[in-house]
Each structure stands twice: as structure tokens, then as C-alpha cells.
């Protein structure tokens, strides 16, 4: 039976923990709103870009002369897994879910005898990946100084990736991030970013009008121009989704923590009151029996 004093100390400590988790939850909720707005604001650009990409791709035939970013290097031996995680923890299963998906893919690829390397965005996936796949991490992008993801940040990463691709460091790049669905659900997602996957059977959305579009310069030149941009936009979108997912996940986790702390306080308070009552009863019994004895 813990003493009254130690119970009291525990209740105070749980209460202050609850205060912290409550504050974190509220901060996450506010940040979530902002991140969600940013993710939504970025959607029109990504949507239009992908429409343009697919309409262009249907006009260009993939041949040996087409850009490598589109056609690939002709081999699929070396894979680069770009894993985007957060910079901070205490976000529930957010980071471990992303890493889990990346590990699954990595293990499948390794089982097929492929080379797998990791490129990390954010530091939270590092520990696990470094332990399971030692020496496989080629680079880690530090994002701890970034408060709100800007397109320039994504652009920098994509330039680095394309430089590595041109230098022949890998053949295929996969991107792992958590797609934001709601504050309660974030879906870990895998996306191939290099070579650019094109929906070959892209529906002829604009129909006959498309046929008379003029291009300046020609289709192929535009496509070459757009491919690196597409990589950057995909990365940017993933980062935005990730930011929103992280806050959503943290909000849920902290909400649960706050509730658990509340339950714990209730339990401890009941225990405290019972102990106090027991102590009073014992004291009374002692006094009464002492008086009777006289």
C-alpha cells in the first residue's frame, strides 16, 4: 500500500504530464490546420501539372533518344528508397508506419537480389534503418530548421536526387511518405518518382480539342523541361502531406495521452481517498479502544 504522500506526489506528476500533452495537442491542432491549408493550396498546381504531363506523354514515343528521367536507365538493379519522416517524435505511430512500409519494400527488393540504398528526409527514420541496413544510407536531408515547407526546399532535394541519378548512382527511386486522409487516418504510401511513371492509358480527357494544341518549343523539349519539375512537385506534395499527417498523428496521440492521464488521475484519486479513509478509521478505532480500556 503506497503512502498517502507518495500517492499525492504521483497525482501531481500525472497532472503536469496531462497539462503538457494537452498543450501539445492544441499546438498540433493549430499546426494541422495550417499544414492542411498548405497541402490544399498546393493541389491545383500538382493536378494541372499531371494533366499536362500525361497529355504530353501520350504524344511522345519512348525511344532511346528520350530523356532518361522518363525512359529509365534500362536497368532496374539499383533502387533508391527516399523515406520522408518527421524531425520530431511523439507523433504516435506516424514515423514507424512509414519506416515499416519502406522496410517491407526494401526486404522484397533485397530478396529479388536488387541493391537497395536509402535517402532520408527527416531524422526520425534514421535509427531503425541504420540498424537494420547498416551502411545503406547515402544521404540524410536535415529539415529541423524548416518551419513551413517551401517549394524551394523540395526543389533542392529533387535537384540533388536528379544529380545523383544523372551520375548513375541508382536506376529507380521510390518515395515513401504518409498520405493525409484525416486527423485520424494517415496512409503510408509508396510512389515511384524516378523514372517518372506515366499513365500510358491516360484517358483522352480533352478529346479532339487536344489535337490542335500548338507547342512552343516542341513537345519533346517541353517534356524534358517538365520532368525535373515533376519530380520536385511530387516531392513537395509528399512533404506537405507528410507535414499534415505528422500534425494529425501527433494530435491524435496527444489526445489519447491526455485521456489516459485523466483516467490515471481518477484512479489514483480514488486510491488516495480510500487510503486516507482507511487511515482515519484505524485512528478512530485506536482512540475508541484506548478509551474503553480505561
Amino acid at each position: 500500500m503506497p503512502s498517502l504522500k507518495s500517492l499525492k506526489v504521483r497525482i501531481t506528476s500525472v497532472k503536469s504530464t496531462q497539462k503538457i500533452t494537452k498543450a501539445m495537442k492544441m499546438v498540433a491542432a493549430a499546426k494541422l490546420r495550417r499544414a492542411q491549408q498548405a497541402a490544399e493550396a498546393g493541389r491545383p498546381y500538382a493536378e494541372r501539372l499531371s494533366t499536362v504531363m500525361s497529355s504530353l506523354a501520350s504524344k511522345v514515343t519512348i525511344g532511346p533518344s528520350s530523356p532518361k528521367l522518363l525512359a529509365g536507365t534500362g536497368s532496374d538493379q539499383r533502387h533508391l528508397l527516399v523515406v520522408a519522416t518527421s524531425e520530431r517524435g511523439l507523433a504516435g505511430a506516424f514515423n514507424s508506419n512509414i519506416v515499416k512500409l519502406a522496410r517491407k519494400t526494401a526486404d522484397e527488393l533485397i530478396a529479388q537480389g536488387k541493391d537497395v540504398k536509402f535517402y532520408l528526409i527527416g531524422k526520425k527514420g534514421r535509427a531503425v534503418i541504420a540498424r537494420l541496413y547498416p551502411g545503406k544510407i547515402v544521404h540524410q536531408v536535415d529539415q529541423s530548421h524548416i518551419k513551413n515547407v517551401a517549394f524551394a526546399d523540395a526543389h533542392q532535394v529533387s535537384e540533388d536526387l536528379i544529380r545523383r541519378f544523372d551520375a548513375g548512382e541508382f536506376d529507380i527511386a521510390h518515395l515513401f511518405f504518409a498520405k493525409f486522409q484525416s486527423a485520424l487516418a494517415q496512409i503510408p504510401t509508396e510512389l515511384q518518382i524516378i523514372p517518372v511513371p506515366l499513365a500510358v492509358n491516360a484517358a483522352p480527357a480533352t478529346g479532339g480539342a487536344e489535337a490542335s494544341v500548338e507547342y512552343e518549343p516542341d513537345e519533346e523539349a517541353i517534356l524534358t523541361e517538365l520532368l525535373p519539375r515533376n519530380v520536385a512537385v511530387q516531392l513537395f506534395r509528399a512533404m506537405l502531406e507528410n507535414a499534415a499527417s505528422e500534425q494529425g498523428s501527433r494530435m491524435t496521440a496527444m489526445d489519447n495521452a491526455t485521456r489516459n492521464a485523466g483516467d490515471m488521475i481518477n484512479r489514483l484519486t480514488i486510491q488516495y481517498n480510500r487510503t486516507r479513509q482507511a487511515a482515519i478509521t484505524t485512528e478512530l478505532v485506536e482512540i475508541i479502544s484506548g478509551a474503553e480500556a480505561l
Binding site: A41, G42, Y45, E210, V213, Y215, E216, I222
Partner: protein
Amino acid sequence: MANLHFELVTPEKLLLSEEVHMVVVPGTEGEFGVLAGHAPFMSVIRSGELRVYSGPNTVSARIQVEGGFAEVNEKGLTVLAEAATEIQA
């Protein structure tokens, strides 16, 4: 005269969506003006100044754009720029 529907989009947000008279876009192969009813057209743009005309001779906005591309379809003109900042007159 019918107005041109003009949209300026950056990766961060939809910057402009309005009805204008004409837009002059800095294409890689030279500036081009787009009026309502322009034929379907697509061009890569270079960094430069984009001018929005609210009337035949009135420039309502001058915007510095950086890289991207412009698309004209039956709905109007869409400029996808990597970055855009309005130049204060």
C-alpha cells in the same frame, strides 16, 4: 469583348484567378500576348515579367515569374510558375 480567364498557380498556392483583358507572358522563345479566344497553345516560360492588362491600355499588375509553363485552352490561360512575386509599381 469577352474577357480572358487567367489563372496563375505556384506550387504553394493558387495566386490569381480572375477575368482580364490580356496577359503578356515571357515565353522561352519570346514574349506572347494572350487574348480571349486564343488557340490552344502551350509554352515553357522563362524568368521574367508577366503583365496583366485589365483593359486595352491599362496594365493592372506586373508579376515577376520564375520558370514554369503556360497553357492556353478553351477555358482560358493557366500559368504554372515556380515562383511569382508582384512588382509594385
